[in-house]
Symmetry: D2
Subunit: 340 residues, 4 copies
């Protein structure tokens, strides 16, 4: 951490500030005296030093971190890729492309079983589906809740596909015990109380990026889970909020290689929520593969026109067949070209 | 709700869509046939119709709401201002200017009592202070928690100031029973499970605007609380996330008159979190008053340099004395000029 | 165009408004009377009707375009792809992948000739290079200007590569007569006077997307050029400004398929300016190809460390060799998978 | 300027980089050797050092400016407020509140003269009006051009109000010779060629903030004009582009005190363009005064319903009378409270 000291700071102020740093945070402080400014360099574990606190000091002009504020999620300290492996054998982050597909909301047994079988046949290795739905309006369909979870488990039994579904409150963690991957939605990315509780369990967590979260904040939320002892975090880029209205969100594919550089965690892409339009899903899925993503999360509905939520961005099973075939073909080519 | 139908939709498709609308949502559908397009106009309670669902229909080109999607928070249906009145007599939304002041985090008894007495002396009518703190990093100070709540209650006893403090999880609602105003932070504005639970209690809720929430989404979150039966919601503008880096967030003061037009709920402004800089608080507090705000939330710390969180934006009690005096003087002038 | 009329508008007001519409804009107005609102549907050429003007009318609640406000750039009226063909045979938009490569700024003869030969050898079909440079600071290097143009022409002579370079003022159009493709930079995307003048010449224009332009505004700027009679416009996505600071801009690859749907104009991607980081260029180039781009614009510098501008995002010729090889290989695979 | 060196840089690389800095930019380089990193501190005139260039160096981890990149516009070097004084006596930046009012577009003699007389009577000291109009669509009204300028001059003759109008191309500077204040619109804020030419004349320039410009970029554009020798720059905040759709732009009133701190130039606010809605102008004008603005720019039209552009945000003369009266009353109170 580099701290620039104000020009008009007195020697006494500066010495006092240095001793506070050393005593409070047990870091070593080096100083360099320039004409423009005095600069302090802090040596030691600076992740616990709050930048706000530093900025509030009377003598401080500005502060700059040299080290990232995350440790467990940091590739510098864990060079090897994290590979998530489920008891049933599916892997995420091992170089393969995983596809999580299914409806936005679970609606009934026929629907979820039919979609599950279709997406499995097309190559998906996980079934996604919402039982508890975060909706902007209290008057919109809120999901089938516990019944939805049961239907997902039923579809898992039928198809063998592990299930991914969203949790919305801490008190539901027990209810989600037999869920294979627990999803934290974009709106809960900084629900820190939920993250802390998910850190206590030993189950993969799919952490969606918040609507207006920086990449660093997103990794910090993964760090919350990991700090509790749960190392199995999968990051999911799902678009960020910008001024552009042609798409629901702006898909930030640069986030994929950046996450890969900064962290060892796997990262997947959700083109359905990012764009909000079914006709963009194929093209953005292909682009995500070429950006280096470890997987895709795609909404598939047997009958998008009658879907109880997010129908506008859902593919039909027939459309998904074609998308999946192209996506796997491109992944194959990509691997030969980039890694081959 | 106005729905534009695609040019290439067949008569059968259109008739089928109309009958689905009428049966599923019990609305009356009128149609107008143009050259450019066919347009449907829906009559009845359209708040339950999901725009996503409409957009997903094969025949639909686009959809436009004419009515706002909120009812209980809508000024159209409740023309009079909501005035929040506490058992101890303080009012918010009655035309007066309320100031909620205090430290970002409660740190110890001396601190909170001292700050409480100082802000009371300067004219604040509420004591704010964080006991549970949402922090980006799991390694940052997370608040004194239950002990912090006790210290706030102690300061209330000493000064008579009602207390405002942030809740971070549903399971804490019982613990917050004797808190006077429960704050929902920006990161939890769309924690719908929390909002639903807060709808079941009968206590004023201060709902901060999310970092990237539209004004409509913000009112919809108030609607979540109100839909549960709790009408006492205070909205708090605290800055939105933009590309500008000169301030922590961009304070959107236009939100104040817009909220006043769309809703009957009181709206206050938090210039401390919006700007992230103590030196901007005075000027932005004055601007908020002139924008028509019902109140201000201002961070005051006995010793910002040693604050355990957000020191950079806290005023000292002496600074707050001056700010409060100017703010009340401007409010007085404003009332004479605008309402007088 | 659909216009929703205010509930409290009188019959006389409404009739007056209708007759103004009909007389001023020569459109036919149909009206549909609902309970919620009265809706007008306009038939005819509504591209000349200003939405601001409509919104300003006392009787108007809101307005919604059904037709896009552009004609010449609109795929609806020109279903076939525009293919730009240079006198020297190079094509853009014909299904092939064109690469425009070269330094941010032309610096001297050896530099530009060396880079031109290297990028040609790697498969680039256009040489890019800045002679006039838009710089945020008046104290930064502003380009070699006329001398830079001469050096570009020299490099063209040596390599046969057509040249692409940025124009910054209308009075330079004559000076750019022998430039093959004239680039309009992001900061000038809405320099309408420049666009109008470029509409009068008959030379391909590369129109970069503005930092905060919507896709519709961007196409409208192309329409400015085309309205003047110059149909040869190439759109270039180069990242938009968002709150994210990990990259210089946020590359919006969804813009590629959206442009392809809305317009018949070719669209290329500039990953160098979008990300601002050389190490991201390869991955984002691959993603752009998979998003369906007609080409790439990539910065290559013989010696990025000593580049006079934008060195941080420039590839060395050796790095470019590898990127180009992978990009062409992926394009080949993509064509087989998607179009094959 | 503080430069953080990569951990793995060799001694030779570092020494080479230091000598390049010293020779190329004539600065003195101090280094401080930490465990985390080596840090270089540059002493001398670092405004000419391009951050991109520094970032491109192989040994550089990151770079941080300590000094602002602007000199002439910097309050540090010019502590006193710049006061713009017109030959006819009007002042901007002297502590008074100037109001520039008038129609978006000049439409005809009766209109402009009538509006000019009305706004003068209400207290405006400048007449604004567009002769050359930047429009998103080539099919929208583009202004009366030279005729519009003549009409403005006519209205000046009748009322004595100096005129403010927008220039859109360099070749028009001669035509604008008798304009009192030349406005540079938001879309041209980084039209550097125009800024350079305006630096050569000796006439006040009103520089609107770009739609997505940072405050620093905005001041840098003022610096472009000042670098040419023209010190008379007035900055105008007119809203920035964000995701919020309730207003046309988001008015960033925090920019006012920030500009006042960083620069000595006067800053005014345009609530009409910022909000895009006439009913918000009064409240945001009052807020701008309380934020410390030196003036306001307000659209007034004799007949907004028939305005040829931007009618939705124009006040009628009667509405302006009331707004101006309140605004001056609040300014009076503000001065007593804040400066008194």
């Amino acid at each position: 951490m580099i701290i620039v000291i104000k020009r008009d700071a007195s020697k006494e102020q500066l010495m006092h500030f240095r001793s506070v740093l050393e005593e409070k945070y047990h870091v070593t402080v080096n100083s360099w005296q320039g004409v423009e400014a005095t600069v302090l360099g802090l040596i030691g574990d600076t992740t616990q030093i709050d930048e706000d606190w530093v900025n509030a000091q009377e003598v401080v002009e500005s502060v700059k971190r040299v080290q990232e504020p995350y440790k467990k999620a940091n590739r510098k300290f864990h060079p090897d890729n994290t590979v998530i492996e489920l008891p049933t054998g599916q892997k995420i982050g091992d170089g393969s492309l995983c596809i999580m597909a299914g409806p936005c909301s679970v609606e009934n047994e026929d629907q979820i079983n039919y979609v599950a079988e279709r997406v499995k046949a097309a190559g998906a290795t996980f079934l996604r589906g919402g039982a508890f739905k975060p909706r902007t309006s209290p008057y919109s369909f809120q999901g089938l809740k516990a019944e939805g979870l049961d239907l997902l488990k039923g579809a898992r039994k039928v198809t063998g596909l592990p299930i991914v579904t969203e949790i919305m409150r801490t008190s539901h963690i027990d209810m989600f015990e037999s869920v294979d991957i627990i999803q934290v939605g974009a709106r809960n990315m900084q629900n820190f109380e939920l993250l802390k509780e998910l850190g206590k369990i030993r189950k993969p967590i799919l952490l969606k990026r918040g609507l207006s979260s920086t990449i660093e904040e997103w990794i910090m939320s993964a760090e919350y889970i990991m700090a509790g002892g749960n190392d199995q975090v999968i990051l999911c880029e799902r678009g960020i909020r910008t001024y552009e209205t042609a798409t629901r969100n702006t898909l930030d594919l640069s986030a994929v290689p950046i996450i890969k550089k900064l962290s060892h965690l796997p990262v997947i892409v959700d083109p359905s929520h990012a764009t909000g339009k079914a006709w963009l899903v194929e093209q953005m899925s292909l682009a995500a593969v070429a950006a280096g993503a470890d997987g895709l999360m795609i909404e598939v509905h047997n009958d998008p026109k009658h879907a109880l939520s997010d129908g506008a961005q859902s593919l039909t099973p027939d459309q998904f067949d074609k998308v999946a075939a192209k996506v796997f073909a491109l992944k194959h080519a990509y691997d030969e070209i980039v890694n081959g």
